[in-house]
Symmetry: C2
DNA sequence: GGTATCATTGTGACCGGTCACATGTTTGTT
DNA sequence: AACAAACATGTGACCGGTCACAATGATACC
């Protein structure tokens, strides 16, 4: 059953013009005489006419729809990126269809269905480096990566300036007098984890502090992995006085592990995370962190994507956005 | 630029059949001889042909796309619903486009663009009762509400059994020996808040405990409102020994407010929430709660929606799903 | 053998827009 | 006054599928 039986031809005949003229009024592509436009607009309003998008797609080859492939939506960081991207799309009159893929098989299936069947004009991809899924990304098709810098540089992207994040977080701890600074990284297969670690190392080196391999542990972004990492630190002869966790979830895991050992935070241990997820402000004590502007990342990624879908060519842009230090209760000057 | 220059006619001519036969192979609608099918499939594979969805939409009037209108995606409960809905759609070969609307103007704009222009086959709506937005819901168009029971019963819906949630939560506190049980509700314009309150009152009445108006406060689902409500309880002569908060966010707010006054949880105060958001397990102490299966709600809502889009008619189904009590550390037997 | 039924395949029209091009009218320039 | 340029509008073809219906051949039944 078609909801709208009103077609452009109905409008044309009611306004006494050709369908092409109606099309011109709708799309504002060509000059139309003022009174003609008024007549057409009256007919449109009168009949309650709406152009049907699939007919436009068929004729133009553009759908006004973009897809975002995301590992999941329930993670706050991903959801925020998607939300920012949606706003970017809406601002351009387009829509965003989000699809979750948590393994490379689902990922390639989605690409197949979304891209090959012409459902969307472009693809926004979040986090394609967790496994091999990036290798399924379509060539010769508008693609932008959000929240991850691509390994080999052949894709456009918008991401946090991760080296700077690692550097800033470590600097904050150094400024508080800490010298025994451990770090919990994300999976090192992901560039952002590598980059944040690099920034951490840079800051320590500048401060003349030697790197300790046993204070560099790798988690998987989850709170549980942060918890486990703290337990591994506990086996060292010496405990760090501060921990830089590469995201808030792991930071909260560290926090809880230390808390359950009776360690006082921030008096005995300072902890800093990255992201500023809502839970960060509600942790006990509230977490100091580096806030990502997920919103802006998603929005700018979508802008790049739309431009790419329209222009076709254009050089590869890789934007890096800054983070903002949010000092709360989980970091404090070291006590001697 | 069209990505796929391969059309059904190319496949037809390569396979030496008509386009209709190719169509039959693709859609498996009619009988096709075994060898013909093989020849067509070979041609499809050979040319890398994919049916273009917009062409199919134009011809059939169906898009295979559904929209979910949601207040925001960054709230875990909404995101989970959307995720469940997406799985439901994918299982039927359809896609889900999620669009956020946080006021009735955006809401009506979305309806206009999504429904009137034929972009989607149906609408999944989350939480349309916060203001007047439900009044913009399109008539004669497939609509299902997820996570909210409709006020007047003219829409299909899948939601939690909210009376039972309120009842169970209160029963749990009663079973621990509590008699001074306060509650923090969501906005009473929303039916689910009313229903949960009703369940709470039922349980108290069954236990022969009189209702106290000063122990029934209304928040707005946010942690901040939970915090504020606890402060208002503090002004009473007498403090409750247990609080039933209608969602986890408010429960955490109550928890933090009480904690900051030096009240020990659960020794002096038991707190129970609803939802089981991820933060619940990481609160200090970990929150006892009633878990909603958002996943199932979203998925079943999408199933209803797809059925509705295909059948047209069918009676109005309003499903109610149960919640599951998750006992953690924030509730304990009352100490005399 | 004749006819009804079924399986298999093909044909033209159509879905509702837009594109390229053609046409007629007005305005501007020398 | 003559001609070019700009403006305003219309026409036929086309985008890539599917629908309704027709046509063919094979099988079944009487």
């Amino acid at each position: 059953m078609n909801r709208s039986r009103v077609t452009i031809r109905d409008v044309a005949s009611q306004a006494g013009v050709s369908r092409q003229t109606v099309s011109r009024v709708i799309n504002q592509t060509d000059n139309v005489a003022e009174d003609t436009r008024a007549r057409v607009e009256a007919a449109i309003a009168n009949l309650g006419y709406r152009p049907q998008v699939w007919a436009q797609s068929l004729a133009t080859g553009m759908t006004g729809l973009f897809a975002c492939i995301v590992p999941n939506l329930t993670d706050y960081t991903f959801a925020s990126l998607v939300h920012g991207a949606e706003l970017g799309a809406r601002a351009a009159g387009a829509f965003l269809l989000s699809a979750t893929a948590d393994n490379d098989k689902m990922f390639s299936g989605l690409i197949d269905e979304l891209v090959m069947s012409g459902r969307v004009d472009g693809l926004l991809v979040i986090n394609p480096f967790v496994d091999e899924r990036y290798s399924y990304l379509p060539a010769d098709f508008p693609v932008v990566l959000a929240g991850a810098r691509p390994r080999h540089g052949q894709w456009q992207s918008v991401a946090l300036n991760d080296e700077d994040v690692g550097y800033q977080a470590t600097k904050h701890l150094l400024a508080l007098g800490h010298r025994q600074i451990a770090t919990v990284t994300g999976p090192l297969t992901e560039d952002c984890a590598q980059d944040r670690r690099y920034g951490y190392q840079q800051a320590l080196q500048e401060a003349g502090i030697p790197l300790r391999a046993d204070w560099l542990l790798t988690g998987d972004w989850s709170a549980a992995s942060g918890y486990a990492c703290w337990q591994r630190f506990g086996r060292s002869r010496e405990l760090p006085t501060a921990v830089f966790a590469q995201n808030d979830q792991m930071a909260i895991g560290v926090l809880r592990a230390a808390y359950s050992q009776g360690i006082q935070i921030p008096q005995q241990l300072s902890i800093i995370g990255v992201d500023d997820i809502p839970m960060a402000a509600y942790a006990t004590p509230a977490l100091t962190t580096l806030r990502q502007d997920f919103h802006a990342i998603g929005q700018q990624a979508m802008q790049l994507l739309i431009a790419q879908a329209q222009n076709q060519h254009g050089q590869i842009v890789q934007k890096r956005l800054p983070a903002q230090l949010i000092v709360r209760e989980s970091t404090a000057p070291i006590v001697f």
